[in-house]
């Protein structure tokens, strides 16, 4: 099945990009791994489409340190995230998540902005970005604004991206005092949508108790989210099985409070609880290894 008729432009600067995106026909093109498939399969594709290829704008491709943050350009690919020394050092859960997605071919094209703006409930980059308090810098011809990721995704396949806006970069907090991990449950080892995905960060204080806890899960609720009540519960506690079991139970209860009991609950309830327990233990193991 062919793609709908379209016009194509490839701006080279941010200014040219914003001008192109101000056209009412404009649709931004990042890696294309979702957009091309969606356009091809759409029963009612947009008429008179203008695809604005963002990939030739060099500033969208950078990964840089800025004080206690990392700035990740919107068009950084999954492969680049997975192999970046900065990401591996300061946000390893994000590198693990990127590595878990698709295949080599998909990872060479898919982008961080594409994954987040597509806003699938199972977006694998969302949980690690959320535990790193990611915010997006959005730019348009009328100015710029910074939006926390937690507020940017409004629901399944819906974001706060306004017409004429482009995601310039993601800003994430560097975390390296503790241990963090990412786990994705799927029906196979590659090329799969997560049935559930998790990111956790644990740091320990001098007395061996939990100093900081961060936990996020996706594909279990309409949008990926942090579990702040659970994080608050964990902080100050000993990192032992009894505490983690209680935390995992709290996560499970929160999920089903939001979604209600569904046909998948007999599976998702015990599995989400067990996997929460696993990622908390694993993050703690890594944290202990760092001390």
């Amino acid at each position: 099945m062919s793609l709908p008729p379209l016009d194509y432009v490839a701006p080279r600067t941010l200014k040219e990009t914003l001008k192109a995106l101000s056209d009412e026909r404009a649709v931004p093109l990042a890696g294309g791994t979702d957009l091309i498939v969606n356009l091809r399969n759409s029963e009612d594709p947009p008429k008179n489409l203008l695809l604005v290829d963002l990939k030739k704008v060099s500033e969208f491709h950078l990964i840089e340190e800025e004080d206690d943050h990392l700035k990740i350009g919107s068009l950084v690919t999954l492969a680049e995230l997975a192999s970046s020394p900065l990401i591996s050092k300061f946000a390893p859960a994000l590198a693990l998540a990127a590595e878990s997605m698709g295949s080599i071919q998909i990872r060479n094209r898919g982008t961080v902005a594409g994954n987040i703006v597509n806003a699938s409930p199972c977006a694998d980059l969302a949980p690690p970005l959320l535990i790193h308090e990611a915010s997006l810098l959005l730019v348009s011809q009328s100015g710029r604004r910074e939006v926390p990721l937690s507020k940017f995704v409004k629901g399944p396949y819906r974001t706060d991206l306004r017409r004429g806006e482009v995601v310039r970069l993601f800003s994430i907090k560097k975390m390296h005092d503790g241990g963090e991990t990412f786990y994705k449950l799927g029906r196979r080892e590659a090329m799969n949508k997560a049935r559930m995905n998790f990111a956790a960060y644990i740091s320990l204080n001098g007395a061996g108790k939990i100093k900081e806890a961060r936990f996020s899960a996706g594909s279990l609720t309409p949008s990926p989210m942090r579990y702040k009540d659970v994080e608050t519960f964990l902080e100050g506690e000993k990192p032992d099985p009894r505490v983690f079991k209680r935390a995992a139970e709290m996560v499970k209860n929160k999920i089903f409070e939001i979604t209600g009991v569904r046909w998948s609950t007999p599976y998702k309830a015990p599995v989400s609880e067990n996997l929460t327990l696993w990622v908390l233990k694993e993050a703690t193991r890594i944290a202990k290894g760092r001390r």
Partner: protein, 166 residues
């Protein structure tokens, strides 16, 4: 919709072609340029039969629009053999019975080339991981893995100092 002119390097030679902008790279290669090596298996980037190497990276050509490759460099399976001789990967695939119907083969050869360009001595696990984006219905994969191991060894022996990108 107006046609656009696209110029890029294909298998080492500069090409210039005029086509509709809604054409994918896969269709551009097969229909406009007569290279039927890359195959249409799924059109959604899941089977890898359309894999080519674009600017040094293995990608699904069914998910790339033709105008995107302006100024770029593309290698297809047709570019593997040089001066009428087969590439060590192609020879190894024949030797190890890694080709049955052959439909997946061009895509898998390009993924294998990409792997060996970046990792000249891959473990079995690394080969299997690299092949995650390529589906084969016929061989059961093991002949393919053995062929890649064998080609990698031959390529290391003939180019001990080379790090890749041949």
């Amino acid at each position: 919709m107006r046609k656009v002119r696209i110029e890029f390097t294909l298998n080492g030679a500069l090409v210039s072609v005029k086509t509709y902008p809604n054409k994918t790279l896969l269709d551009l290669l097969r229909e406009d340029l007569g290279l039927t090596g890359p195959k249409r298996g799924c059109d959604v980037g899941e089977c890898g039969a359309c894999t080519v190497i674009y600017n040094g990276k293995a990608v699904n050509s069914c998910l790339i629009l033709a105008p995107e490759v302006e100024g770029g460099e593309i290698f297809t399976v047709e570019g593997l053999s040089k001066n009428g001789g087969l590439h060590p990967l192609q020879e190894a695939f024949i030797e190890h019975d890694a080709v049955q119907c052959g439909f997946c083969t061009p895509g898998i050869l390009m993924t294998a080339k990409y792997l060996l360009d970046h990792n000249p001595d891959p473990t079995e696990e690394e080969i299997l991981k690299a092949l995650q984006g390529n589906i084969c219905r016929c061989t059961g994969y093991w002949p393919i893995v053995e062929a890649i191991k064998s080609a990698a060894k031959k390529m290391r022996v003939s180019n001990p100092c080379k790090s890749g990108n041949s």
